[in-house]
């Protein structure tokens, strides 16, 4: 391994790399715009210039290969002067849009102008007038005046999505970022260009003029929209989710996430969400107290359990719940001797990058917690068929996916033969309208727990938004039901339940929240066939 000297400190760095990542890894911040850890080197912004002993001129660190014995200085007067000059040139044509620019507050140009720029400019010429608010795709808009031509987005479309929509047209001072008229920026990952844009040139329409970014609080979480489990930060303000952004995890999503997952957060903020349990009285669903609803559901489950296997309890398990909640659900179903348990997962389009076909965050976790019949079993269709034969007296449907996965005719038949239907969901769905008791469920943004992604990586979610006072999370609902149907006293504390999982589920042995951490915990894979994307 070559040893280089960075600002007087001798550092061992990996061979064959470029200087900039090694300097950043060492903990010295060198400002840069065009360099991005997941994209190729461009060297167009000239911001990362450093002084190297023996080299007559300043060199850009992002495109200088490491050589053993290099002596690098990042904070000499010459370097500071060069940065000041680069900043002045970048700002020659940059409009003073900060008060109306969505990027203000997380803009690299703004930050570096304060940190490294001068307060003066030598030019007197008017700034370039280019197109503002240009509609370049269904989810993105472009402000050409703000662009500093770092070409991060161009490389993203070339190297990551291979769709090549964005390009820099014309030459020299006339250079301008644009798309061709007949090829809008319309790939599944287009909003990532707004994330990597160091200025406010590319903006997502979804977040356009929504909120100043400095008001947002950031909570690390996992995207709930498919089984890939992309690491995200949920960004929230005034108990409302405003946007979701990818969080770096090289084993899962690198620094990207798809547009479908990113834009699916509004359901958390929906004012029409179920917040109070509903109970069927005289044929109509009416709001009731939690204790009442829990007692009713518990009585129904206990009654069905007493009937035995010929007319017992069936359950459709939600793949949107955390492992801890699913573990409690498994215990509940075990104590009421559930005969038929299946996981209903909505399937959708997938690609060979991040988007996976199973449109739920924790389908794998549900199977790991033993909530599905053996592979090749009857599945959801089999459960519904059994219900239509009258084999299920009570059916506990958790989550919204059953309606979208099951054949409507079969579902209709099954529900007619079920005596008690318990539905636990976030919204008052069509299925909930047919239920005897409806229990409001919480979303991923409102609870703490773990999700297991398709490759068997267990990752943690945190509470971003506080649910209304007195609304229990799904794990607490299961625990309260367990208090009714069994002798023991049950509580729900995610840390304690994860310890129970570690003791009870062999592949999860040794798991703790500390071990899961921010980057996840990979399950041992007995088959040895790791799915694509799993590198650890």
């Amino acid at each position: 391994m070559p040893t280089i000297t960075i600002d007087g400190a001798a550092v061992e760095v990996p061979a064959g790399g470029m200087l900039l990542p090694a300097i950043l890894e060492h903990g010295v911040h060198v400002p840069h715009y065009c360099w991005h850890p997941k994209l190729s080197v461009d060297g167009s912004c000239r911001m990362c210039q450093v002084e190297i002993e023996g080299v007559p001129k300043l060199q850009i660190a992002c495109n200088t290969p490491i050589r053993d014995g290099m002596v690098v200085r990042t904070n000499t007067p010459a370097v500071e002067n060069a940065r000041r000059g680069v900043m002045e040139l970048l700002l020659v044509n940059h409009p003073l849009d900060c008060p109306i620019c969505d990027k203000a507050g997380e803009c690299l140009l703004q930050d570096y102008a304060y940190a490294y720029g001068s307060r003066h400019t030598h030019t007197r010429e008017p700034r370039r007038k280019l197109e503002k608010r240009k509609d370049i795709g269904p989810r993105m808009i472009l402000d050409q005046e703000r662009c500093i031509l770092c070409r991060r987005c161009v490389r993203f479309c070339r190297e990551i999505t291979s769709t090549n929509e964005l390009g820099v047209f014309n030459m020299g001072d006339h250079s301008v970022l644009d798309v061709l008229d007949d090829r809008p920026l319309n790939n599944d990952y287009s909003i990532n260009t707004a994330d990597i844009c160091p200025v406010g040139a590319l903006e997502s329409k979804d977040f356009h003029h929504k909120l100043r970014v400095w008001f947002l609080k950031k909570t690390p979480s996992v995207c709930p929209s498919c089984s890939n489990g992309c690491n995200i930060t949920v960004q929230h303000h005034r108990e409302r989710v405003w946007r979701m952004m990818p969080r770096r995890n090289d084993a899962v999503n690198e620094t990207w996430m798809c547009d479908h997952g990113r834009l699916r957060y509004e359901f958390v903020n929906d004012p029409g969400r179920l917040r109070q349990p509903l109970l069927r009285r005289n044929g109509a669903l009416e709001p009731c107290e939690w204790d009442e609803a829990i007692a009713f559901a518990a009585t129904a489950l206990r009654g069905a359990a007493r009937e035995g296997a010929s007319r017992g309890v069936g359950a459709i398990v939600s793949p949107h719940l955390t492992n801890e909640e699913l573990f409690r659900f498994a215990q509940l179903l075990h104590s009421v001797h559930a005969t038929q348990v299946e996981v209903a997962v909505r399937m959708g389009l997938s690609d060979n990058f991040l988007i996976k076909p199973e449109k739920a965050a924790n389908a794998r976790g549900a199977r790991d917690m033993g909530l599905q019949s053996a592979p090749g079993g009857a599945g959801v269709a089999g459960l519904l068929a059994a219900a239509s034969r009258g084999a299920l007296r009570a059916l506990y449907v958790c989550g919204p996916d059953l309606v979208e996965t099951a054949d409507p005719q079969a579902l209709d038949n099954a529900l007619e033969h079920v005596e008690v239907l318990i539905v636990q969901d976030v919204f008052r769905t069509a299925l909930a309208e047919r239920a005897d008791v409806v229990l409001p469920s919480l979303t991923f943004a409102e609870k703490v727990g773990t999700f297991t992604n398709v490759t068997g990586r267990v990752q943690q979610i945190h509470r971003a938004v506080t649910p209304p006072e007195g609304q229990p999370n799904d794990g607490e609902i299961f625990s309260r039901l367990l208090n009714h149907v069994s002798e023991a006293r049950w509580t729900f504390e995610p840390t304690a339940v994860l310890a129970e999982i570690a003791a009870a589920v062999p592949s999860y042995a040794g798991i703790t929240f500390a071990a899961v951490g921010a980057q996840g915990w990979q399950l041992p894979d007995p088959s040895g066939a790791a799915a694509p994307g799993a590198t650890h």
């Binding site: 008060p99 109306i100 203000a104 003029h209 929504k210 909120l211 100043r212 400095w214 008001f215």
Partner: protein
């Protein structure tokens, strides 16, 4: 550490302090009586010499630097000058400003969809005005914010808008003058 004691001379005579406070009371009474007599004499002669302002009917004109409650500047086309940049919301020490931005078709593409100031929390400090890059929120000449309910002290955008003509000679003039220096 060695301690050092300093003897402080204090007025020892109780009688002397009695005398002093008695003198001060007489002095105060003399001032009060002088004004009373002068007002009474003016009342009798029908030439009042009072300088009390009969407030709701009579009002003083304040200098441009006076800080009343904040208002939003309304441009000649009837729209607000505010672009909802949120700097006043951030600068506000009492957190009394709530802004939700939205897009418009105008050249300046942004405006506040919601601009609320909770006047019961506002302390007229003027930091919002200082933070504003657009001269869009300025302090006015009025201080009356009384309302019959707490809800009434929450002022919305429509309540806050004041035409620019009314502000040009007062607070806006003062701001421009002080920034030019």
């Amino acid at each position: 550490m060695a301690t050092r004691t300093v003897a402080v001379a204090r007025p020892s005579s109780l009688r002397r302090s009695w005398f002093r406070s008695g003198w001060a009371i007489l002095k105060g009474l003399w001032v009060t009586n002088r004004h009373f007599m002068r007002n009474l004499w003016g009342f009798i002669r029908r030439k009042p010499t009072v300088f009390t302002v009969q407030f709701p009917e009579e009002r003083l004109t304040h200098p441009g630097a006076f800080r009343g409650h904040p208002v939003l500047v309304q441009m000649d086309n009837g729209k607000e000058r505010c672009v909802a940049c949120g700097l006043c919301e951030w600068a506000c020490p009492t957190d009394c400003i709530t802004i939700y931005p939205a897009e418009t078709a105008d050249e300046i593409e942004r405006h506040p969809k919601v601009f609320d100031i909770d006047m019961s929390r506002c302390m007229f400090c003027g930091l919002c005005e200082e933070a504003c890059p657009e001269e869009a929120i300025v302090m006015s000449q009025t201080v009356e914010i009384a309302a019959f309910s707490r809800r009434g002290t929450l002022w919305h955008k429509e309540d806050l808008l004041v035409p620019v003509d009314q502000l040009r000679d007062t607070r806006l003039g003062h701001i421009r003058q002080s920034y030019d220096q």
